[in-house]
Amino acid sequence: MSTLTVQDHGVVQHDHDHEHHHNENFWTKYIFSQDHKMIARQFLITGIIMAVIAMLLSILFRIQLAYPEKAFPLLETLLGRFAPGGRLDTNFYLSLVTIHGTIMVFFVLTAGLSGTFSNLLIPYQLGARDMASPFMNMLSYWLFFIASVIMMASFFTEKGPAGPGWTIYPPLSALPKAMPGSGLGMTYWLISMVLFVASQLMGGINYISTILNMRTKGMDLWKMPLTIWAFFLTAILGVLAFPVLVAGVVLLIFDRSFGTSFYLSEIVVQNQQMSFEGGSPILFQHLFWFLGHPEVYIVIMPALGISSEVIATNSRKPIFGYHAMVYSLIGITVLSFIVWGHHMFVTGMNPFLGGVFMITTLIIAVPSAVKTFNYLATLWRGNIRFTPAMLFAIGLVSFFISGGLTGIFLGNAALDINLHDTYFVVAHFHLVMGSAAIFGMLAGVYHWFPKMFGRMMDEKLGYLHFWLTFIGAYLVFFPMHFMGLDGVPRRYYSFTEIESLKQWVSVNTFITWAAIMSALAQVAFLFNFFYSIFFGRKAPQNPWNSTTLEWTTPVEHIHGNWPGEIPTVYRWPYDYSKPGHDEDFIPQTVPFSQTLSSNLPHDFEDNPVNLESHKDWVNTQKSNEEVK
């Protein structure tokens, strides 16, 4: 990897260009911006809006689960025909579940998370003026935006939005007769998703090419912060996996609209034979999960990258096992392509195949475990500063452990027989990829807010936000494990019809109130976020005493990021609390020649010449002392 040449891209001419670039109007600056910093903010704010929508949807269906027998006239006022008599319609309930999942997974935790922080940090932390292709970057955002609008527009179709679950398994999603949510709303969903994938591909190709080609002088791959490694591998995953979803979705469009039978066979609806023959519903599941599983790593890896950075900075300690962290990310990336079948153990897929997928699935737990242990080791003997970002990063590690461990049950095909599609699964993925990834995203927002908006967020409100959300998330998702162990299925409109499930209504009421509390806690965040954009305390250049390059740029955003030459990088990004140095951090831009007293042999592992000179220096020091 280190053989890749680092580009030195004609800094001087570049500077010259930027002097003449400032005749921007409102449209080019705020709307059709090609500047990575603005695009990052566009992604973030769109992501936050989508997250709030998806959260409100979840509160709606949580109310239904807590009070299955009760009517809420307000719901009828707000939702009209979707809640006749103040009770949610059963089909609309499924639509809520579907759109909640779709928005959270794709629009918030993929676009909102990767889109924001890849765009913000890749040029900043690598020392680039902008993305490799700023125009494509702009297109990426606008396709995402259009996809979001189409997804939300489906709420205004006559029969409501898509309803077959976010996994949209055919035949349910292919037969408009089977449920209202498979009608026009489903068409909107499919179109929205095709545009979304196009957006992701443009973004991903941009991230990869920027990381490979536009690093500043001295920034070899092993000097990149873990955030960049995570974004890089995430982008690779996305570029390889997302097109498969498009293939799957397009074939589904064919089946729905043009009478083909890719996924359909031997179907009878209301005693009437359909003309589909020879297709396989399982094929769709393979195509869906070929993306779907890498997707959960697309969601969690950027969050892990962000938390690595935040934990190291705020523990004032190098991340433990930098190389191991990178290798485990690479391991997760590779393995995530060969585990998708664990979503399909009981679908009728050949059971031998299930056994194979089980083996690969449990292997992927190893790099995940290594990452967790490395986080713990980083905290050990640190000098921890609890900024809100740090709190959220610690919360992420806690969720990642809690949710990750239940993956060992679900990844085991035999145990999955009884747990598949129950609340145990709901608890598992909401902790390990839902809450953990959201916490990663929030940690990122709190940490890089000064860089994005030039102002600080209020710390105390951040503390309040963290504790309410952290406690709330555990109160919501922990009891769900036990519901799953009692065989409570997910996507049930109510648990009143099946005798053995009735006992869980009281627990559901508790969960709903915990969810409402967590949702209200987000007001603290939203207020803090939007208020601080305009009225927050002005941020210093390097508020967290961080080592990475983005903090060497001026607080006021300028086109091209650095006013003069792009700084050169001399060292890895984690020189915190190095013994022998007067401050507890050494920025990446400080050459070793300026820090002779704190240099270690470790710093020159990949550079034998400098290692020699370092040894010479140490020897001279020693002999000097002896002379004294």
Binding site: P73, L74, T77, L94, P164, Y169, A178, S265, I267, N271, Q273, G279, S280, S315, R316, K317, F320, G321, H323, A324, T347, P351, G354, G355, M358, L362, I363, A365, G382, I384, R385, I394, S398, I401, T406, I408, F409, A414, L415, I417, N418, D421, D458, F470, Y474, F478, P479, F482, L485, D486, R491, Y493, S494, E497, I498, E499, V507, Y574, Y576, P579
Partner: protein
């Protein structure tokens, strides 16, 4: 914080003005009632916000007073560290409570099938291992957060890596997972092998067909073999599309309940007609999807009758259920079938009372009276019963 209070007040004004605006717009009394309730909750939330802001302000004032007196202000960093410690303590208590109360509501350890008992053992092994890891890592996480809270007097310990430790904590989980994988893989292979081996007593074959939103059950007749089906034959009278080109079809039996003899191997022959459903019976640790166009199977042996369960649980209305566990449409949540496990004798008695699938109307429709295959089958059947 001062600013915060101010904006909270601002927010208060805007929210209440919104509420009143919509309020006046509504004419019907019921609607007004709704908005009063909404207004009440909004007000409540607002009061909470204001209280939070006031508390924040008090802290700020207190902090400033301390600083003015030349003392150190509130150390929020230590407060957060203590917060994690408190969270750990309450977390442990909460986990204990949840295991005790919610855990008692689950089916864990009560599998009523032969393979289910193996799964329960595996579940316990996995639970114990993961629970130890869970407690250890969470204690370390929050413990470290508390123990190594920052201070200006100290510098963190520069410790970038240690390959030996890295190797240990790569290999250790790998070994544990290998054990779980091997155990799981062998069990899985055994459960999913649904073909009766040579020498094994033949399993009871039952046909389970899912459609929106019900399950249809069909038992084989005296021959013990289910007749073939063809989806093209499905209509109002032949709901499953049983094919009468197959002589095994003639004696098949229709049932409303999934009645199973205890301690006898059963093989469910599963299919769906419209969309994907899932046959789920958590008491027996049974689940497999019902897929249109793709037959699936599940073989298991129930070990306890419904009556025994009732007396053991001291619950006179206990019943086993089969319910759908794959989203299938609006009434997905109510797609269930009663399952009753009985003794062999009771089963035989029940079976003899069930109606044949081949109803008189179906016979007429298919003009079976002229069908040579049917005549032959009826004849054979008579001979067989005479022989008994």
């Amino acid at each position: 914080m001062f600013l915060l209070l101010g904006t909270n007040l601002l927010m208060a004004q805007s929210t209440s003005s919104n509420a009143t605006a919509t309020d006046s717009g509504d004419t019907s009394a019921q609607q007004a009632g709704v908005w009063t309730t909404v207004g009440y909750y909004a007000l409540l939330f607002l009061i909470v916000c204001i209280i939070v802001a006031v508390i924040g302000k008090i802290f700020r004032v207190y902090d400033l007073t301390l600083q003015m007196q030349g003392k150190k202000g509130i150390n929020w960093n230590n407060a957060m560290a203590v917060g994690f410690l408190i969270f750990l303590v309450f977390g442990v208590a909460g986990v204990y409570y949840s295991f005790k109360v919610h855990g008692a509501m689950t089916l864990v350890g009560e599998a009523q099938s032969v393979h289910g008992k193996t799964l329960d053992t595996m579940f316990w092994v996995t639970t114990i291992i993961t629970f130890i890891v869970f407690v250890l890592t969470q204690v370390l996480l929050f413990g470290f957060a508390f123990a190594y809270k920052g201070s200006d007097k100290r510098k963190a310990y520069y410790y970038p890596h240690n390959n030996t430790i890295e190797k240990i904590w790569t290999v250790a989980p790998a070994i544990v997972l290998t054990i779980l994988v091997v155990f799981g893989f062998l069990t899985w292979r055994k459960i999913t092998n649904t073909v009766d081996a040579k020498g094994e007593p033949a399993s009871l074959q039952v046909d389970v067909t899912g459609h929106q939103f019900a399950w249809e059950i069909r038992y084989p007749g005296r021959d013990g073999k289910l007749g073939m089906k063809n989806y093209k034959l499905i209509n109002g009278t032949n709901k499953l599309g049983v094919s009468y080109d197959d002589k095994n079809s003639f004696d098949d039996i229709q049932a409303d309940t999934l009645m199973l003899p205890v301690n006898k191997s059963v093989r469910l022959n599963i299919i769906a007609q419209d969309v994907i459903h899932s046959v789920y019976m958590p008491n027996f640790r049974v689940q497999i999807n019902a897929v249109p166009g793709l037959p699936t199977y599940f073989k298991f042996t129930p070990t306890k009758t419904t009556a025994e369960m009732r007396s053991d649980l001291n619950q006179s209305d206990f019943n086993y259920h089969l319910y759908c566990n794959k989203i299938c449409g609006g009434s997905h949540y109510n797609m269930q079938k009663l399952v009753v496990v009985v003794t062999q004798a009771e089963y035989q008695k029940w079976l003899s009372q069930q109606k044949p699938y081949l109803s008189e109307q179906l016979k007429k429709e298919l003009k079976l009276a002229d069908n040579p295959l049917y005549k032959q089958a009826v004849l054979q059947n008579r001979l067989a019963s005479n022989n008994l």
